[in-house]
Symmetry: C2
Subunit: 345 residues, 2 copies
């Protein structure tokens, strides 16, 4: 039978109250007594029953998620995952509020962070934009003792507690190596379509991709980066132009969202089999395109994992606990048509 606080009290020859003081390092215990209790704890191998402790505490964690608006599937999926977390909030003792802000709008994001600060939550998760005013807003939250986790896109210069997202340089490198190797024995330039160079994750992916391409396919020409602002219509326009202008185009790396536009452009031009296309994020559209062969590979970050990780970290930081880094690392998933998960994602 698993030892309880009562067993420790008996073993150490002290009262329950003293054990409680030691366990929750409250003041009022002499050094010698504290040692006695701690020895009892280790010899009995006591571990606190978290369920019972939470029950007794009946603590709740008010959390705020700040998410960008816009109709790209990944961000909507992220919002869906946050909603799913809301449903679990009863079980997880969280109270989640969502604030929506226009995409790629640094001023709006800074304002939203201030608004979140006024609500005095235990923690805030935010899809960051890499801008000074955003850094400043995050730092103010931290000064108020509010835990902050960046989600999907990081904010390295700030005092945020944690980044719940993938290593985007590595993601870009992965795409670069795949592209380089898939195109071996084939001529022609490679194009890159981004959302915006304003967000950190896109910049990082570009950096990684360029570096890996230089290594795995040294002579390959990269066309100048195109920004489609994660908007399907805009991306379709840009890619259509690209394909028309470069008859010898060998590959396209789409490092942002708006892949519906990319897919449509390739298929309308009849170049879907010809051009090696690698994109990010598993959505119904990208999934179908991968299955049909329009896309050749897909990199993915699991939005559900990211949201759940962000919540775990925020709760831990709110309690002043350390997080286990390895457990909270979000992996880059690679999908080919052969290892697509069965369920539509």
């Amino acid at each position: 039978m698993r030892p309880t606080v009562h067993d420790i009290a008996a073993k150490a020859g002290v009262s329950l109250a003293t054990v409680d003081r030691v366990l929750n390092n409250r003041p009022g215990v002499r050094g010698v007594t504290r040692d006695k209790v701690e020895r009892a704890i280790t010899t009995l191998g006591y571990v606190r029953d978290v369920a019972a402790a939470n029950l007794a505490k009946s603590r709740i964690y008010p959390l705020i998620f700040i998410l960008p608006e816009g109709d790209n599937t990944f961000m909507r999926g992220l919002a869906v995952e946050v909603e799913a977390a809301k449903v679990r909030s009863a079980v997880e003792r969280t109270a989640i509020t969502v604030l929506s802000v226009p995409a790629f709008d640094r001023a709006a994001l800074a304002t939203a962070l201030e608004k979140a600060r006024a609500l005095a939550p235990a923690g805030v998760a935010v899809v960051a934009i890499d801008a000074l005013e955003v850094v400043a807003a995050v730092d103010r939250l931290r000064e108020d003792g509010i835990a902050v986790v960046t989600l999907v896109s990081d904010l390295p210069g700030s005092s945020r507690d944690h980044f719940a997202g993938v290593d985007n340089i590595a993601a870009g490198r992965t795409a670069g190596t795949l592209m380089g190797r898939f195109l071996s024995g084939r001529e022609g330039p490679v194009a890159i379509v981004a959302g915006s160079m304003l967000v950190r994750d896109h910049r990082d992916r570009l950096e990684g991709f360029s570096a890996a391409m230089a290594e795995s396919a040294p002579g390959r020409r990269l066309l100048p980066v195109i920004e489609g602002h994660d908007d399907p219509a805009e991306v379709e326009n840009l890619v259509s132009g690209l394909v028309a202008d470069h008859a010898d185009l060998a590959g396209i790396y789409s490092l942002g969202a708006g892949n519906r536009g990319l897919i449509a452009a390739l298929e309308k031009a009849g170049r879907q089999a010809d051009i090696c296309a690698i994109a990010h994020e598993l959505t119904p559209h990208s999934r179908a395109a991968l299955a049909s062969g329009t896309l050749d590979a897909l990199l993915n970050q699991d939005a559900g994992h990211e949201v759940r990780s962000a919540i775990r970290v925020l709760k831990a930081r709110a309690d002043g606990l350390a997080v286990i880094g390895a457990q909270e690392r979000i992996r880059i998933e690679i999908f080919l048509r052969d290892n697509l998960p069965v369920e539509p994602a």
Copy 2:
């Protein structure tokens, strides 16, 4: 504030005892009363506090894991994950026993299953061998009302409740597509090294690989399958012979364990850069080989995920609850040198 059983009792105008009877469908409640209570439950949006419920029940789940012996890293890693689960058993209310059996020994496995049955646990997780006597032993467990989950390698003909492992046909296909595309523009045959054709997962991987190779690289010649019994020394011998015999060998797919031998053979022959090698399971050795370029790609199943999933499913089945299929699906991870996780795995 979240509603409790007391709130339901008040709302429905009944006593706590009646609410309890409805919630845990115990007998002794009239139809009308039951309806009243259920209406109160839905209108208040009551959800049972699982933590408190478990605390009150103080239920424990005795589980048995049957794992193969042998010194291949993946199975040892699996054992480590089971040990890690043992550590958490206090929190998760499980009591885990491990039985070790010789690898690839169907009779020993059947005996171990009988032994497990005699211990009358709530559930059994087993790395299966595809043999009639094993199927029979599993079916006997199920007849005794013991939940059974196959781990890593499935047993399709049996009445097991669930398979906690990857789709190995898809894994093989993935390897085949990568191999085919990585070798585009290069001549030479491809070799396949398996552990044993006795286990289902290896047979499935072979099937998938052959099919995908046929599609993505139609003319490519596949050498006959070699069985290394997941033993590093044996694998090294076999691969050394293979490399010596085939100067034009373009690729090797190692679908089992014992990759230390594969890596050593390639490096001793000086063919590590020349031959495209794809293997399974991320271990310190395979990880280093991927980083250095001896291996070109690595497919992985996360042993930790599999063990945790198996435990969740066994607990759920022991309580007669359904499992959410999508949540328990184990993904095939693809690693290139660029997306290796930072921590040694």
